[in-house]
């Protein structure tokens, strides 16, 4: 086949995708970057000539925006607490299922995976009821064992940690399924060899399971981090960012700025979010790549 004919055939297959992808993904990604250097507002849509380039102004403004600093801090807390909690929980469940559950494994797997497939909005609505300070199921249950439950979503100190735990509850199943697949791919003779060398359960976990699982850990860490940096629906439905902005996230703040019509500023903020995602992914690669 000639070069040209190959290109015609190839693009024949790829063009519908490529065209849609260019218009609705590639161009918007670049447009967002360009807009972040301008003072474009929603009112400029009819009069594009009124838009001026303002250099890095939008980015510099972020430092003076108290709400943005607040949102960035909240997002950092959410990621720093949420990612390890989710991964540790998922790994524990996966290890448990892998160690001794054979007959009911499917039941457990489906059950733990259930929250992952359900709409975050519906989940948030239900949890808002469960967490009601006076009448909610959570505080009633705690009351049965003599614990005075907190005001969860209504208290600036507990609102964000509550959302962290809820996110871990919701996302645990995804990581668990991937961990379980990773665990099942570990050859049994590795464990046998370790046992012959006198390794106990902990030593087997530390020196066989963890090293072999490293690529899986890396994948889960990156995917979970990317998801958590963008958290938005939970505070939108459960707290509207409150109380007193204690659950305002970067994505939520960006959405609000978009709603106010500050398109340039919102674009700058979204690019900061993008940079954070890239930086954290690189950090995970550095930390977990096979260097030994």
């Amino acid at each position: 086949m000639s070069q040209v004919r190959r290109a015609v055939t190839g693009w024949g297959f790829a063009l519908p995708f490529a065209a849609l992808f260019a218009v609705f993904m590639a161009v918007p990604v670049l447009a967002s970057l360009v807009m972040s250097f301008t003072d474009i507002r929603s009112t400029d849509l009819r009069d594009p000539l009124a838009v001026d380039f303002v250099g890095l102004d939008n980015y510099l403004r972020l430092f003076d925006d108290e709400l943005f600093v607040r949102a960035a801090t909240n997002t950092a807390v959410f990621v720093v607490l949420g990612v390890p909690l989710t991964m540790a929980g998922a790994l524990l469940v996966a290890l448990g299922l892998n160690a001794g559950v054979t007959r009911f494994r499917t039941v457990f797997r489906v059950g733990y995976y259930l929250p992952v497939v359900t709409s975050i909005v519906a989940i948030a609505v239900v949890w808002r009821f469960l967490l009601q300070p006076d009448t909610g199921l959570v505080n009633t249950m705690l009351g049965l064992v003599g614990i005075d439950g907190a005001k969860w979503l209504d208290d600036t100190r507990t609102a964000l940690p509550t959302l962290v735990v809820m996110a871990a509850w919701r996302n645990l199943g995804f990581s668990m399924v991937i961990f379980l697949a990773g665990l099942q791919a570990i050859p049994q003779d590795l464990y046998e060899a370790a046992r012959i060398d006198g390794a106990g359960r902990w030593a087997q976990f530390r020196y066989v399971t963890l090293p072999v699982l490293r690529p899986t850990l890396l994948f889960v860490a990156v995917v979970t981090t990317i998801g958590y940096v963008q958290f938005f629906e939970e505070p939108f439905v459960m707290t509207q960012g409150g109380p007193l902005d204690s659950t305002l996230s970067m994505a939520y703040h960006t959405y609000n700025q978009f709603g106010f019509g500050s398109y340039g500023y919102a674009s700058a903020m979204s690019y900061v979010l993008f940079l954070v995602v890239v930086a954290l992914s690189i950090a995970w690669f550095r930390l977990l790549r096979a260097n030994t």
Binding site: R6, A7, G10, A14, P16, F17, A18, L20, F21, F24, M25, A26, V27, V29, A31, S32, L45, V93, G100, V101, R109, V110, G111, Y112, Y113, L114, V117, T118, S119, I120, V121, A122, A124, V125, V126, F129, D134, G143, L172, V177, I178, L180, A181, G182, T216, F219, V220, I226, Q230, F232, E233, A251, T254, Y255, Y263, S267, S270, L273, F274, V277
Partner: protein
């Protein structure tokens, strides 16, 4: 199995079952409570099972809000998005996996490069684009931005790489064109990947929130999650009865699909994680 092992296994099952209750409990409570009267929902301490089961919440919900319309919107958007993704991603995946052509590396590079882009990055330009095309508040606005997704092409390409070249070559020698090969040989072999992509796309679309929240500006174009979210933070904030019934309507169709297809599902997700 020694006695000690048996005890350990029993303890493990108890712990995992406790965890399972925490995972599934909220859904059972949601379903049970959606059949309670408003007074019982608000009672302290809360009850588990409805004392006096009623369908009033559902009939009120369907009477007050236009849930059938939201439901239809969600179905239309999810089905169109899924069908489009399967077609476009499979075709492009085949081109990228099996046909070396000018520009294929560039295309794949660009696609991969955007896989980590947060959805909020494209929010503003997409809205500007959709506004300028006059598409705000149309099905097109809800579907078009999700028809060609990086993840889908990546998944299809990776799967198609495992199809033996000899098979395709033999067909070419027999005089089959690329489209014939694609439809007759490649697609049938890709059934597991298509199933995975189809399920994941349908779910992502059904649960999608940020873009429909922005792009659907009047009630008649709301999808289920948008309607539920806006009612739960708006004037119906305290209508627990309506909100719980609404949550059930959002969640249950997805749960049915998931439980029926969970085999495909879990296998697909596990393989995307390992590749």
């Amino acid at each position: 199995m020694t006695a000690r092992d048996r005890v350990a296994t029993a303890v493990l099952h108890v712990l995992l079952t406790a965890g399972l209750v925490v995972m599934v409990g909220p859904f059972i409570w949601m379903l049970a409570s959606s059949f309670k009267t408003d007074a019982e929902i608000r009672r302290s301490p809360p009850t588990w099972w409805p004392e006096d089961p009623t369908l009033d919440n559902y009939s009120n919900l369907l009477g007050r809000l236009d849930f059938p319309a939201y439901f239809t919107n969600s179905v239309v958007v999810a089905v169109l998005t899924t069908v489009g993704n399967l077609m476009f991603c499979a075709a492009a995946g085949y081109a990228l996996a099996k046909l070396r052509f000018a520009g294929s590396r560039l295309l794949f590079g660009v696609v991969l490069g955007t896989i980590m882009v947060p959805s909020i990055v494209t929010l503003v330009p997409l809205f500007v684009l959709v506004s300028n095309l006059g598409l705000v508040n149309s099905y097109a606005a809800l579907v078009l931005p999700f028809l060609a997704q990086a993840f889908g092409v990546f998944l299809m390409r990776q799967f198609m790489l495992s199809i033996p070249e000899d098979l395709l070559e033999a067909a070419r020698i027999d005089g089959a064109g690329e489209w014939r090969i694609f439809f007759r040989i490649v697609l049938p072999l890709c059934r597991p990947a298509l199933a995975t992509l189809g399920i994941l796309t349908f779910l992502a679309s059904w649960n999608n929130f940020l873009w429909p929240l922005v792009a659907a500006t009047t009630e008649d174009r709301y999808t289920l999650p948008v309607a539920l979210a806006l009612y739960s933070v708006g004037q119906n904030r305290a209508r627990y009865d309506l909100l719980l019934a609404g949550s059930v309507l959002v969640v249950v169709p997805v749960l049915i699909v998931f439980v029926l297809l969970q085999r495909h599902f879990v296998r697909g997700i596990a393989t995307t994680g390992l590749k």
